[in-house]
């Protein structure tokens, strides 16, 4: 890949705002989301109620918080297959640390943050040092974490789930931060929805308005070229893995304080849902292209589909088929729109 001289670069030529809009990574997902929304509004009576919308948003946030950092990582050209179980690891660490030592739960929360960030750092370091594809490195850490989750939980609690920490000091404050329900205009909303929106906003600002954002696009587009123009590739990639571990910690805390006890086997398979959300939202599997808002819309599509089927009272046996078909449709729309936009550039 060569770097075009800046003066003759057609990529920076002015475009009409409509074309600009169509060229955004998230536009396909947005169209898909609108189509799905209209569709479920028509087939399911309960779908349009405000309380239902809140349920859909909660379900979306449960995927969306992780999809934010996973989409950044994918734009940076990498995968993290350990993201799903890392959520469980972080919840287990916080829960067992505070319970076994009978400490204020906030101590566990902080310890878990440190350990989980270290796990992300380790993922990044292993990737950078070995030069292996991140798919392989994190596949390894995925299995290792899944084993550690179960092994440590059984070793420490002699059960496969952690005991409830509901009655411990600091639980109610921590719950207020990570998992509280509150009422807006008569509708109950979980605080994780707000956090999700905050994370999406921060990630979008980071991507589009800061130098770090440019670095992320650059290392995903071509790491070698990025390095050649002075982008700190190693640091950026490690930071992206740590970003994933940060949201894994955050979401892990939500699970812990919402459900009080943690099953050590949970979280396996969710990593693919995060990746699906990011891809539906316009991230390329090859890196260098995508958006955090797109991943949020991807998560919203996921939330609408998984709950819309319930609202529509369809036979649940077909759930996975519907889910797969809708995700595929959204991605195809995405692809078509983007091709058209790029062709007309």
């Amino acid at each position: 890949m060569t770097i075009a001289p800046p003066a003759a670069d057609e990529r920076v030529a002015a475009r009409s705002s409509f074309r600009k809009l169509l060229g955004r990574p998230e536009i396909g997902a947005l169209i898909g989301a609108i189509v799905l929304f209209v569709f479920f509004s028509l087939v399911a009576d309960a779908f349009l109620r405000a309380s239902s919308f809140s349920t859909v948003l909660y379900s979306s946030a449960s995927m969306g918080i992780m999809a934010v950092s996973v989409s950044l990582l994918m734009i940076g050209g990498e995968f993290d297959l350990s993201a799903g179980v890392m959520v469980t690891s972080s919840a287990l660490i916080a829960s067992m640390f505070s319970y076994e030592l009978t400490l204020n739960v906030w101590v566990g929360v902080v310890v878990s943050l440190v350990v989980t960030l270290a796990l992300g750092f380790l993922n990044g370091l292993l990737y950078v040092r070995t030069g292996l594809p991140s798919f392989i490195v994190t596949l390894g850490t995925f299995f290792m974490l899944a084993g550690l989750n179960l092994g440590f939980t059984k070793l420490i609690t002699h059960n496969v789930a952690t005991p409830s920490i509901e009655d411990m000091d600091g639980f109610s404050q921590a719950r207020a931060v990570f998992a509280r329900d509150f009422t807006i205009g008569g509708v109950q909303v979980n605080i994780s929805v707000l956090w999700w929106i905050v994370f999406v906003a921060i990630a979008t600002w980071l991507l589009l308005r800061t130098r770090s954002g440019n670095w992320i696009f650059a290392v995903g587009g071509s790491a070698a070229s990025a390095r050649a123009v002075g982008v700190p590739v190693t640091r950026t990639k490690i930071a992206l893995f740590m970003g994933v571990s940060f949201t894994a910690w955050f979401y892990g805390m939500h699970i812990l304080f919402n459900f009080k006890s943690v099953q050590s086997g949970e979280g396996v398979g969710n990593e693919f849902f995060y990746i699906i959300c990011a891809v539906v939202g316009g991230c390329l599997l090859t890196g260098g292209y995508g958006s955090a808002i797109g991943a949020a819309i991807g998560a919203f599509i996921w939330g609408m589909t998984s709950n819309g089927i319930v609202y529509a009272e369809w036979n649940p046996d077909w759930f996975k088929f519907f889910l797969g078909a809708m995700l595929l449709a959204a991605t195809v729309v995405n692809l078509v729109v983007r091709r058209r936009a790029e062709a007309g550039k």
Partner: protein, 326 residues
């Protein structure tokens, strides 16, 4: 000459009297000793289940098996894989190791049929637990310990009637699991109201919560929820509370938090299949068979449940649930 003959005869007698290689009181004593569990060669018994990693239910089964093993001087080995083919491979590897007894779950009977036949051909006694009541004897297993899921479902349906529930939803947390479908079908059979199934993603609690909330929002008439596992039930309680529904929650299977929830009335009742018994009895049966040729159940499945836990007996069960054996 005569002296020599007498001497030889005496020597022979002496030699004979020194030890009889079979029978006699000593052998009887040894057998009795072995029966009491304090002697005899150490047996190696392997259990292969269809459990996913870290499943709470199978953890209790293992605990039962381990305590029977400790009592019976058995070396207990355990392996599990939810995939039928892989489970069969695990069984095969224990046959290769020449274990003294095998405990197998037949959740996917067709996948395990051949390998169980191989074990029987290799003269390794096989006991089945949990699932496969129908196939157990056909495949040549000695005995089966488990709960008939349909009968357990029927018990749950009757309990729901007692609780005055009119419209219930049965939460299936593993798609395509025959046992779970049978529970819901059994409950539907005896339940006098209306019941429908809802699929929830068991490995993902926030999704379970939102799916149950969505269902309660979609159909305000639902006044009962039947969960098929303890953690799902506790999440369903949260969902019902969050959506302002008055639906009462009942469940299959138990854990510590669930017993507390029964005590304070958040959960109506639990249908317990006593997994501890399944593990314990399976090891004990193999040990009895090896020591005394005993077979439990007379060719019929031995039922370990349903045992209903509700407010009336929750206090009695609580300490056992606390240590993770109920």
């Amino acid at each position: 000459m005569k002296r020599k003959v007498i001497a030889a005869a005496l020597a022979g007698l002496l030699a004979l009297s020194a030890c009889s290689s079979s029978g006699g009181k000593k052998a009887d004593e040894q057998a009795t000793k072995a029966l009491n569990g304090s002697g005899g060669p150490r047996l190696k018994i392997a259990m292969v289940t269809h459990s996913a990693q870290g499943d709470a239910f199978w953890d209790i089964v293992q605990k039962g098996a381990q305590s029977a093993s400790a009592k019976d001087n058995v070396q207990f080995l355990y392996a599990a894989d939810p995939d039928g083919g892989k489970q069969a491979q695990l069984v095969q590897s224990y046959i290769d190791q020449h274990v003294d007894g095998l405990i197998v779950t037949l959740a996917k009977p067709d996948a395990l049929k051949d390998v169980v036949a191989k074990a029987v051909a290799a003269k390794i006694p096989v006991v089945t637990i949990n699932s496969g009541a129908e196939e157990s004897a056909k495949f040549g297993a000695l005995a089966h310990f488990g709960q008939d899921e349909n009968i357990a479902g029927q018990a749950a349906g009757e309990q729901l009637n007692k609780a005055g529930i009119k419209k219930a939803v049965c939460l299936i947390h593993e798609q395509g699991n025959v046992g779970l479908e049978a529970r819901c079908a059994g409950a539907k059979k005896t339940f006098s109201g209306q019941m429908q199934n809802l699929f929830v993603q068991g490995a993902n609690m926030p999704q379970v919560k939102s799916a149950v909330t969505a269902k309660l929002q979609a159909d305000k008439g639902i006044d009962g929820i039947l969960a098929l596992n303890a953690q799902i039930a506790l999440t369903a309680v949260d969902a019902a509370k969050g959506s302002g529904s008055k639906a009462k929650v009942a469940t299959f299977d138990m854990n510590k938090d669930l017993v507390t929830a029964i005590k304070d009335g958040r959960i109506q009742f639990a249908v317990d299949q006593q997994p501890y018994l399944q593990g314990y009895e399976a090891v004990d049966e193999l040990w009895l068979y090896k020591r005394n040729g005993d077979i439990l159940g007379g060719g019929q499945p031995v039922l370990t449940g349903p045992a209903i836990v509700d407010k009336s007996n929750a206090d009695a069960v609580a300490p056992y649930a606390d240590r993770g054996t109920r």
